[in-house]
């Protein structure tokens, strides 16, 4: 039996190094870390995964999940594998190649009365990436994570063979792949059940709250009635105002409430180039937060909203990660189980604030039951997602400190965001890791599939 602390044995790839594929700089959305790697882009994605150590989609995970462990590893890029293969308008079940972008899927599905059952906070992700990270959204308390709606997957596993898996077929492999960060096999095709919607518009309400406890109470209560809930939290406010924020809740508008025409896709304005380091200064963001909070006012805002504006407000600004400059940033996302200790979120934010942590953006969500994905992130509690500029050692120390709180409270972090958590801390957060590694060992005894993250955090051999 393999113990989680035992690194997977690794045999060098038999396939030669692809010198055809040029070395380029690869990074996740946070530009932290940046590595040299060989990314293979092909419309014949299935063929291109043969001999590849990892596959990646749009590279929207923040840290090193989609990065190769070594410059000799080939990373197969799925984005040109974007075909829809079958759709059943009675059941809503769609089968598509793994590189299909969520933005394309939404543009197709919204006018037809369907929507992805779960969406992350950006539509610039692929179906394969959504499965690998087992993404969750504002409706986690209602719909669970994306994997709960995935009915089947087609994978290329480490020995090169192609395997179809689902709850009825290779169930163990299926469940390890939901949230398995692409480490169980290359995800080639995804079959998912879409959700029927009454109209393609959102009915949204927003309300501000002066302190964290009321905000969390309101978030929990909103979840009983509303399918979509989320909070923006002001982490730079001080004293009693720390953790004030705005609660947003939404549902699909009824046809009588919605405009007659379907929403038109929004054109994005993009940050044209990498901004200088330190452009986002704490005092400026603090002032922005104060203004944003003040301008919302005390009254509750209600109305019909464009679904892109409701689900993907940051996508309106393309390449916004460039605002953080070349040093990049990390997003720290954790879930804290508050059932037995309601004071946890406040302690967490105080801790962050006391250590001088400047989280420029903080999003708080209500997590429901744990899903069937073996390593999938959400579990019941309150989830915080913090955007933190990367400054080297001090940032590492901050993440270490936050990880300590998470370990002590029985919470866990989200691998799709992580760049800095240490292996020993992750192991203490993740009692399911041993089972996950056992399944990997069974399907990949030679340790062919790996990422920079799996080397860093799961102890895979370089």
């Amino acid at each position: 039996m393999i113990r989680p602390s035992t690194p997977l044995q690794r045999v060098p790839h038999t396939s030669e190094v692809h010198h055809d594929v040029p070395l380029t700089e690869l990074s996740g959305w946070g530009h932290c870390p940046v590595v040299q790697g060989r990314e293979l882009l092909s419309e014949r994605f299935e063929a291109s995964t043969e001999g590849a150590a990892l596959s990646r989609g749009m590279g929207r995970s923040y840290g090193d999940s989609s990065l190769p462990a070594s410059a000799d590893d080939i990373v197969a890029c799925s984005t040109l594998a974007d075909r829809m293969l079958a759709f059943d308008p009675d059941s809503g079940v769609l089968r598509a190649e793994a590189g299909l972008k969520l933005v394309s899927l939404n543009n197709w599905s919204l006018p037809r009365g369907w929507f992805t059952p779960v969406t992350p906070g950006t539509h610039f992700v692929t179906l394969g990436g959504m499965v690998a990270a087992d993404v969750h959204g504002k409706n986690h308390h209602r719909n669970g994570s994306f994997g709960a709606h995935v009915t089947a997957l087609k994978l290329r596993v480490a020995d090169g063979s192609i395997v179809e898996c689902s709850d009825d077929q290779q169930r163990e492999l299926f469940r390890a792949t939901l949230g398995g960060m692409g480490l169980t096999g290359h995800i080639l095709e995804v079959e998912v059940r879409l959700q029927a919607i009454p109209s393609p518009w959102i009915w949204a309400e927003s309300q501000r709250f002066d302190d964290l406890d009321t905000l969390i109470d309101s978030l929990k209560r909103a979840g009983e009635e509303w399918p979509y809930t989320v909070c923006w939290v002001d982490c730079l406010a001080t004293g009693g105002r720390l953790g004030r924020g705005i609660l947003m809740r939404g549902r699909w508008a009824e046809p009588r409430e919605a405009p007659a025409a379907p929403p038109r896709p929004k054109a994005a304005f993009a940050v044209p180039f990498m901004m200088p380091n330190g452009l986002l200064m704490p005092w400026a963001v603090k002032a922005f937060n104060g203004l944003y909070y003040a301008l919302h006012g005390r009254r509750t805002h209600r109305g019909v909203q464009h679904p892109e504006w409701f689900f993907y407000p940051l996508d309106v600004v393309g390449e916004w990660n460039r605002l953080y400059g070349r040093h990049g940033f990390t997003q720290y996302q954790c879930v804290l189980p508050i059932e037995h200790d309601p004071s946890l979120p406040r302690r967490f934010l105080r801790h962050l604030s006391a250590r001088g942590g400047t989280a420029y953006l903080c999003v708080m969500k209500d997590c429901g039951a744990q899903g069937k994905g073996l390593l999938s992130f959400p579990k019941p509690g309150i989830s915080f997602a913090l955007d933190i500029p990367y400054h080297g050692a001090p940032t590492q120390a901050l993440i270490d400190a936050l990880d300590d709180v998470v370990v002590e409270s029985g919470g866990r972090i989200y691998l799709a965001k992580d760049a800095l958590t240490r292996a020993e801390k992750f192991r203490r957060m993740e009692p399911r890791l041993e089972a996950f590694q056992r399944i990997r060992q069974r399907w990949d005894p030679d340790g062919r599939l790996r990422s920079a993250q799996s080397v860093r955090i799961l102890g895979d051999v370089m």
Partner: protein, 245 residues
Amino acid sequence: MKVVAFGATKGMGRALAQLMAARGDAVFLLGRDRDQLSRSAADLQIRGASGPVGMAVCDLLDTATFAPALDQAAEALNGFDAVVVTAGLFDSEERLEADAPLRDRLLTANFTNTVHFCELARVRLLAAGGGTLCVFSSVAGERARKPVILYGAAKAGLSHYLEGLDHKFRAQGLRTVLVKPGFVKTGMTAGLKAPPFAGEPEAVARSVLAAIDKGTPEIYVPGMWRWIMLVIRMLPRAVMRRIGF
């Protein structure tokens, strides 16, 4: 619009066919690989193509497949009013110089046989009273450059041919759209380092579709490449000998 798309299982051709399907055009696919054709046909069907998306095997290296494939398309679509050719081969200059059979295949496919195919398409479009012939050439055909001499030579010939068609047949209703892509990130260019102003297939497809609708005779995609090539065309020979671009 009723479109015959040759080479639409990959790259810019695929992105363009997806846009056409999404707005309800009727599409018929021509290509080498039956399995890939049927995957693409399913995709276009789901995206909203009107009528069943048909397909026929058609190989740029086998001219005997051209006429039957176009006939099948005409029958399935009950006549067509646009033909889009994105099929073509690509390889590095080094390999083309070293490998004569490979060189022969690429030159034949990208020039001679593409012209043969276009001639068959032209005759059919004109017989039906006119229509659009959209062909993907390349900025590599604009000025001889060291990394793309052989590929560029075939594309230069192809561009020349299409310009001639425009001069001679536009008055009779044939609207040729000559597309000159710069660097676009598709599987074809996957082995190459992307230069600045590299395009994405989807954005390129949007520009090309607008050109097809307007009947623009010549379009550079991304648009920036018109100005890049303007500069490159003006560079003196002494400079071209020295630079590796």
